[in-house]
């Protein structure tokens, strides 16, 4: 059985509203999700839907009002759970008084790396992420500094140019190939579609759809037949059979799939109307 990298069960997070008598604001409402080790999981949703709060709860930066979060079986509120996590926040800033390499050394030392091991790791990461002092790339490198098994990325490509954005996408795929688990949220749905195995759509604090990407983007009322080496006669015969059925009709050949973007808009804007 595959190990669970992330296990969030019935997470609820309420924030107090500083007005007398006002009801607390529920940012996350009974969200559950599981990420298997080695998967790339994308959490998508509009601004204010609860994506970042879910990530922060997983990192112990906010305490759940109810529900539980764990990383590789360890309670997220315990410091030990963060041994195996690297986190890149949205639009990160780092200490201005440190260079890129010094920043990595600082974070490496916090993770108990020392001496040659640390220096080798810093060099390796600078090569891996192709640092050109861009904040996001330093951010990604610091997230990877202790070689964590789980990487949590909050809008990793926000404010990054298209080339940098593609490099980050390639890096995520490279990390997946190395067996890392990646949990990311992004507004760039095409990128999510390109890199994620599983996707969750969160809207107004609730998980509205979740599952394998391939399943989610499949059109439910259509059937796809992929034939190999089919003769023209066979294809014609199939089309005749379809016409004879009366109820079924051939829409088109190819891959009858929607896009993740359409699915996302359907799930989120559909509820608003």
């Amino acid at each position: 059985m595959t190990e669970l990298a992330v296990d969030i069960q019935h997470l609820v997070k309420d924030f107090r509203v500083p007005l007398r008598g006002a009801k607390p604001f529920r940012a996350v409402n009974d969200v559950s999700l599981q990420i298997q080790a080695g998967e790339v999981y994308g959490l998508i949703g509009p601004n204010g839907s609860g994506k970042s709060t879910t990530m922060k709860a997983l990192l112990g930066l906010v305490a759940p009002s109810s529900g539980t979060c764990s990383i590789f079986g360890k309670d997220s509120l315990k410091v030990d759970s963060r041994n195996d996590v690297g986190f890149l926040p949205e639009n990160p800033y780092f200490y201005k008084h440190l260079t890129g390499a010094e920043t990595l050394r600082f974070y490496g030392k916090l993770c108990n790396l020392r001496g040659k091991t640390l220096e080798d790791r810093v060099t390796e990461l600078l090569d891996l992420v192709g640092l050109q002092n861009a904040r996001e790339r330093i951010g990604l490198a610091q997230a990877l500094v202790q070689d964590p098994r789980l990487l949590i990325l909050d809008e990793p490509t926000a404010g990054v140019d298209p080339i940098g954005s593609r490099q980050i996408r390639d890096l995520i795929l490279q990390l997946r190939d190395r067996g890392k688990t990646v949990f990311l949220c992004s507004h760039l749905l095409e990128q999510v579609q390109e890199v994620c195995d599983h996707v969750g759509i969160i809207f107004q604090g609730k998980m509205v759809r979740e599952g394998k990407l391939e399943d989610l983007i499949a059109v439910e009322n259509q059937t796809e037949l992929i034939l190999q080496d089919a003769s023209a006669e066979l294809v014609k015969e199939i089309q005749t059979l379809i016409q004879r059925d009366g109820a079924a009709q051939l829409v088109r050949s190819g891959k009858p799939r929607t896009t993740l973007e359409r699915l996302f808009l359907q799930e989120t804007q559909g509820d608003q109307s």
Binding site: K56, L59, G60, L61, V62, A63, V79, D80, R82, N83, D84, V85, G86, F87, L88, P89, E90, N91, P92, Y93, F94, Y95, H97, L98, F106, Y107, G108, K109, L110, C111, N112, L113, T117, R121, G139, Q142, A143, Q146, D147, I152
Partner: protein, 306 residues
């Protein structure tokens, strides 16, 4: 890679990493410009046109007193302002820049983060005071030596007897570089430790840096006058209110440290001898308050959400 590390609280290496980073951050914020100003003051004071000594009857130690007043005053001001401002700024800045997210997302207990930050600020104050103290000691030692030679020559030329010269020599030496003066500088550092810890406590729940700085100064003032206030209430309290007043004053005394105890600095500046026991008592008191305020800071900070 680094996965088997212990995540127990107050791991010295981890605290020192945060402390050294804070120290470097403050140094690179050009804090040492203040030290350059201090150096200029100390050097300029060396060349000041100080009172002429027309006779041994004059207050020959006056120039040493002025020099010490300047230097110790600047040291005290630096330590106080820096302990409050730097500590009040560091936490909100880390939250604002989201640097705190990336630090706390690593296996770093929140207590280690707080202790590291405070240690970094106090380390910088310690190093700064040390440098200022070295400069003051060099200049004061040189001036005291020159004054001593001058006064002894003058006394000899006027035919003073040996006991009178020895008395004068002792008096000048008491106003020069002494261990008590070093104890006075150390007391400035100890006071800065408490002030910094108070400031850190306030910054853990304050939403405004300005509020933290202002309230920190107010607690400093409250601590500076609480002994006088306690004495006032003791003398003038109505008989029926004495128990309540006593409890109240004890509560205030616990919350606000009595900064008047740190006035050994003034005594040291006046050339008085500071007993080692007094320094030890003050060190113990400082340790108590720093630990108390750090634990309170941790209590607030451990439940803080970002």
């Amino acid at each position: 890679m680094g996965k088997q590390q212990s995540n127990r609280w107050l791991q010295p290496r981890r605290v020192s990493v945060i402390a050294m980073n804070t120290f470097t951050q403050l140094v690179r914020m050009k804090v040492f410009y203040f030290l350059m100003i201090f150096s200029v003051i100390a050097v300029v004071a060396q060349f000041l046109d100080l009172p002429q000594y027309n006779g041994v009857e004059a207050v020959y130690t006056g120039e040493l007193q002025i020099l010490k007043d300047w230097c110790m005053g600047v040291m005290k001001l630096f330590a106080l302002v820096f302990a409050i401002a730097a500590t009040a700024l560091l936490l909100p800045k880390d939250v604002e820049d989201r640097t705190l997210y990336t630090i706390l997302a690593k296996p770093v207990p929140r207590l280690d983060y707080l202790v590291g930050k405070l240690t970094g600020v106090l380390l910088l104050i310690f190093v700064s005071l040390l440098l200022m103290n070295v400069m003051m000691t060099v200049v004061l030692g040189y001036r005291a030596g020159a004054l001593l030679d001058e006064q002894v020559q003058m006394a000899v030329s006027r035919g003073w007897n040996e006991p009178a010269i020895a008395s004068m020599r002792a008096e000048i030496q008491a106003q020069g570089v002494t261990w008590s003066l070093q104890a006075g500088v150390f007391a400035i550092f100890l006071q800065a430790c408490i002030v910094g810890a108070v400031s850190m406590l306030l910054s853990t729940f304050s939403t405004s840096t300005l509020f933290t700085i202002m309230v920190s100064f107010m607690t400093y003032l409250a601590g500076s006058f609480q002994a006088d206030a306690a004495e006032f209430y003791r003398v003038y309290a109505k008989p029926g209110n004495t128990t309540l007043t006593s409890v109240l004053m004890k509560g205030v005394a616990l919350i606000f440290p009595n900064y008047q105890l740190f006035n050994i600095t003034d005594a040291a500046m006046q050339g008085q001898v500071i007993p080692l026991a007094a320094v030890m008592d003050l060190t113990g008191l400082t340790a108590f308050y720093v630990v108390l305020y750090t634990l309170l800071s941790w209590f607030v900070f451990s439940d803080k959400e970002f």
